[in-house]
Symmetry: C2
Subunit: 362 residues, 2 copies
């Protein structure tokens, strides 16, 4: 990973945010900028260099992991350490404005930080500067994302070995999560969704101890984290012998997903991608059952910018990685969702998820 | 769960926080107060009643789960919905002060909320009001916590069936997590720590693909979430034939843990509990290798109030549930930690974790 290049790019943006330094506290942003994978730390980047503050639990780990930043072990609390460090450099940092990530810093944290700052220093919102940089993945990241998606996809093959009426949702999730772990995944990228029967109409139906019944869809939405990067995939399988209505709903979702994928290319807005999926479902008379947005960015976080939703103006660029996941949900009855990850390239997009999408009944 | 009683208790505290209403946005607090288990929602509690705002993904789920609150599905964003709801009741809520959870609300969220509020309404910090109530568990909660701890403890038995030199850390975690899932756990309460060799000296050494080598400790720190409540337990096992030094360090940690548990009773401060563990390790000459605090509260969150740390003044009360987890860490060499969960009762405490603590070598 070229951490120096990422930090240098950010340094080049300090002027446009009207800040002398950026205080990054959002952990995925910290990992992106200096490689730290732990759960507590703050990275201060200014024109001259970078300092990473963490606590004593991460003494050994931070010294191994953190690149392109001086490591300071905060023995009296992270905020105190930052305050002291800035005070010791008071001359240089006089009248500094420090950018903070207002989308992640709590009201209480900001108040505590403001109290600890030497006189003359101000805080200013510099939200989403790092997130915007992270939207476009570099080649190192695309390689890691491809590997995560490939590993994630193998879990669905494992699921199909056990998925059938009579099995518990949680048993299917257990088999998938065991395969993830033994294949080297760090953890699941979100709580595994195995939603059967009427629960398939809940867009976020986590696997429970419910026994899967015949005559309904099972929505399987799952992902892994591999070397920090997330995968995200959904497939929906019918249990038993399917009605024409179920097949039609499935095919409509599949067509909507294909239409959205076909629009993905540089210069197109994410709102247009969302509209492409929505248009197909409206034509099929299912528009009002597509109750969520079409997708989201994926990378170090399972949900990151951009939102692929109605009216969103963000324009696609090569290197962006998003999900395309339309679905239809009939409350109390069943639901269908199909989701792939795609990477925008120069000519359109690369569909990263290798799993087939033919209607499947077991 | 007696959600009404919990909400009524909070209503009784509105006056002391000088607020007319409390806007709870921290999800564990929301679950505690009204039963909602999803990932997006805000609960507004005032003297007359409660309103829960969530988005369309949780339409069906919120109507089933949410107790003692009116459910509003926010079609134009949660904050917009809250703003509209308050504006529609402008007369009644004129000059209201609304308490927000400053420890959880971000700077950006507060700014957006303030913009949407009708004139005359103010925001005020009402942090930790719900967290303070949650520190003392009611009987329903104690029952659920006992069940979670019992289930969690069975995972260590599964681990011992595979834990030995030559096995990967991740394989041990996989076996434990599979057992958790098939036993009905919703998910792990935190990323499973299986830290072998020099990694056992990292207090937060998540399971990796590293093959466990003979001649070192393996720290196993793990927990489940069952019906919303977390378990947390650590056991440390030596690989192969142990040196006298390893045994001595283990016994010192065990003695420190026992000493801390022996101090737990109503009226004692958490700082005194921490001091009891620290005193034993100082006597053994290991004090400076005990680099973290002695424990923390556990409940709907894996880390919640109180912090069982040096100098902390919080006084124990019956119903509080905390971990007792001293450890010693020799960087580059190995580490030992032993952790149980205990529930404060009238006469002392109930050690919830049933697993033995004798020195174990495999």
């Amino acid at each position: 990973m070229n951490f120096l290049e990422r930090q240098e790019k950010l340094r080049g943006q300090l002027a446009t945010t009207r800040c002398n330094a950026l205080l990054t506290s959002h952990l995925p942003n910290i990992r992106y900028l200096c490689g730290f994978t732990g759960s507590a730390g703050v990275l201060l980047i200014d024109a001259r260099g970078s300092v990473f503050f963490t606590d004593v639990r991460y003494d050994t780990q931070s010294r191994t992991e953190v690149k392109e930043a001086k490591v300071v072990i905060a023995r009296k609390g992270l905020l105190n350490s930052i305050g002291e460090w800035l005070a010791a450099r008071r001359k240089r940092s006089q009248k500094w404005t420090i950018g903070i990530e207002s989308e992640h810093v709590t009201v209480a944290e900001k108040k505590r930080l403001a109290k600890l700052l030497p006189a003359g220093l101000g805080l200013r919102d510099a939200s989403t500067v790092v997130e915007r940089a992270r939207m476009v993945k570099d080649d190192d990241e695309l390689g890691l994302i491809r590997a995560a998606v490939r590993l994630g996809a193998t879990l669905f093959d494992r699921a199909l070995e056990v998925l059938k009426p009579g099995v518990k949702e949680g048993e299917v999730a257990a088999v998938m999560e065991y395969a993830a772990r033994t294949s080297g995944a760090e953890e699941m990228s979100f709580p595994t969704i195995i939603a059967s029967g009427a629960r398939s109409a809940l867009p976020h139906g986590r696997a429970t101890q419910q026994v899967i019944a015949p005559g309904g869809f099972v929505v399987c939405d799952f992902g892994v984290i591999l070397a920090g990067y997330c995968s995200d995939q959904t497939r929906t399988v019918w249990m038993g012998s399917a009605s024409a209505e179920a097949r039609e709903a499935y095919e409509a979702v599949r067509e909507a997903q294909a239409a959205a994928i076909a629009t993905v290319r540089p210069g197109i807005s994410v709102g247009e991608v969302d509209a492409a999926a929505r248009k197909v479902l409206h034509k099929s008379g299912l528009g009002r059952y597509f109750t969520h947005s079409t997708g989201h960015g994926v990378g170090l976080e399972i949900h990151e910018a951009p939102k692929v939703a109605a009216g969103q103006k963000e324009v696609l660029k090569p290197g962006m990685v998003i999900t395309i996941e339309p679905g239809v949900y009939f409350p109390g009855k069943w639901g269908v969702r199909i989701e792939d990850m795609v990477a925008v390239n120069e000519s359109g997009c690369e569909v990263l998820t290798p799993t087939g999408k033919d209607f499947l009944a077991v």
